[in-house]
Amino acid sequence: MTVTPDPALVADARRERRFFLSLSLPALFIVGLAAILPILWIIRQSFLTTGGEYTVGNYAKVLSSGLTWSALVTTLELSLGTLAICILLGTPLALALASARPRVANVLMAFVMLPLWTAILVRTYGWLVLLRRDGLINAALTGSGLTAEPLPLVYNFTGTLIGMVHYMLPLFLLPVYAAMRDIDPNLIRAAASMGATLGQVIRTVIMPLSAGGIFSGSIIVLIYSIGFFITPAVLGGGKVNPLSTRIERTLSTFQDWGSASVLGILLLVLMALIGVMLLAARRLLAQNTVEASAHA
């Protein structure tokens, strides 16, 4: 059947859509003002000299500097290190929480989420107190005689990594826990009835079904880690300089707006690259699942 739509009614339908669309305008306007415009401005600034003239010199200067490349390496080391530790610590914790009775799990989740709700600077301060040379952990270590000398736990890569893992772990945990909670317990009972051991159940039932959650969690960790600023700035003590702190220093200390912008664009490009890689990985993951189920 073909109906010729009444143009007046089509116009009404469009008007109604526009009305609902217009409800989003205030929020979209703010995004434009506070996110899109600033990013465009960074791009513009990256092509300007301090005098305001057009140049590509900023790019030449930044890309030829060894500091830039070491910042890039540090950024990747920190992000991937954080991700690896989050997967190692977070997955078993999620499994334990998901296997607990719902009441217990809810209470424990509230505790796990406590850091998520604690202000980032409060947590960073807490880590300083714990990790410093005269901090609690070193006091405990030397006091008990485990180590003779206090260990260098902070104002270095280790301290930064600890702080970042602490920030990212709850974010990683949420999707993994949700995925594991959603597993139908009958699947595990079925596997057990067919003779699977606990290890086999974890490997062949729980892990495949949580893969999506682990993947989402990993994306979140990477996205937040790459541009993370506060933790490296405080717990790195000036010795750990990923792109974010390099940007800050270029801007505040050297007043070099152009180079800071180029570094900012580098950060954007890095995020875009990782985004593309993650999309490709997800497609691959989905394909494998389809193939696996086709073979089964």
Partner: protein
């Protein structure tokens, strides 16, 4: 309050490739109780929501009296609607719910209160005005929804399966009360249901819908006895669609050459009860089942087609003795044999 006729003129609505309304035209007279009856997905609710203004047709016109309401905003239509889930405002008490449309129309408080109370009295909810909506039973909520829909004296009332959430006994009471309310107010009412018994009991006319089209529109009796399509025949009850060759006239005259519809309960086992111009169907008894008020026999005709025969328990003294595999004949009076033009069995 003067109620108005409704004209639905070639209304169509598609969602992508799915056609919800396919060139539907329908005239509803002022004060009439018309039921849109059909299975889910037949387009009956879409048509109702188009009248209410919540679904925009792709083409066609909707008239209320002489006024074109096709493009009118829902809040300007003055149509009372009873929703399937009642859609009462849970944070308002009963009185506030019923007085809500009056408040929107800036009716003075005292008058609004008095009219709301009158509407509540009309639906037999006196004394519950201050009650919280959450504290009401399903039937009471139904009544509040009715009161809210009539309190502002709309010219037309639309009801979308209003009784589907109620249990059977309550449903029957409410069917009667909604019809009485309609008669008292003489308000044009369009009622949507998928329950054919409900449609038969309540309506002045029934429009049977399927796949976005109106299959037949007629009085309940004619819809039941004289369905115009095979779909209507089967949707309205246990209908047998019989090929022309399987039927013979009792008096030996030449049988009809058309496809016939005979309802299961039209049959008798005794030829004397049917009359000379009736028809006879012969076959083998396949199965029988006692259903309380009647017996249901499944008869396999010689052509292989199966026919359902329903015999009232009072006339079925012989049924208990019948055995499967036995050859037997069922008779139907001529008045209950209805030709369906164009429908192949």
């Amino acid at each position: 309050m003067k109620s108005l006729p409704i004209t639905i003129d070639s209304v169509s609505r598609a969602y992508g490739s799915y056609v919800a309304l396919d060139d539907v035209s329908l005239d509803i007279q002022a004060g009439e109780f018309l039921t849109l009856l059909g299975p889910s997905g037949s387009g009956k609710t879409t048509l109702l929501m188009a009248l209410a203004g919540f679904v925009r047709p792709d083409s066609g016109k909707l008239l209320l009296g002489d006024r074109d309401i096709t493009r009118l905003a829902p809040n300007k239509r003055d149509i009372g609607i009873v929703f399937q889930n009642y859609a009462l405002f849970p944070y308002m008490n009963v009185l506030a719910n019923v007085a809500y449309p009056l408040a929107l129309r800036k009716t003075p408080r005292a008058e609004a209160r008095q009219r709301a109370l009158a509407a509540l009295a009309r639906v037999k909810l006196d004394g519950l005005a201050e009650r919280n909506v959450a504290a009401l039973s399903g039937g009471q909520r139904q009544r509040v929804a009715l009161a809210r829909a009539i309190v502002f004296e709309p010219r037309v009332m639309l009801m979308d399966e209003p009784l589907s959430a109620l249990d059977k006994n309550l449903r029957e009471t409410m069917q009667y009360e909604i019809r009485r309310l309609h008669d008292d107010l003489a308000i044009t009412t369009i009622y949507v249901t998928h329950d054919q018994r409900e449609a038969l009991i309540m309506s002045d006319r029934i429009a049977v819908m399927n796949s976005g089209r109106i299959q037949q529109i007629d009085t309940p009796q004619r819809i039941y006895d004289r369905p115009s399509t095979r779909f209507v025949a089967e949707f309205m009850g246990e209908a047998n669609i019989v090929a022309p060759g399987s039927v013979r006239r009792i008096d030996g005259a030449e049988a009809s050459r058309e496809t016939l519809m005979i309802r299961a309960e039209s049959f008798h086992l005794d030829a004397k009860l049917v009359g000379e111009d009736g028809v006879a169907l012969e076959g083998i008894l396949r199965a029988k089942a006692f259903r309380g008020e009647n017996w249901l026999l499944t008869l396999a005709l010689d052509g292989g087609q199966e026919v359902l025969v329903c015999i009232p328990a009072a006339l079925a003294s012989g049924c208990a003795k019948l055995a499967a595999g036995q050859r037997m004949t069922a008779y139907a009076p001529a008045a209950k044999v209805h030709a369906i033009p164009g429908a192949m069995a």
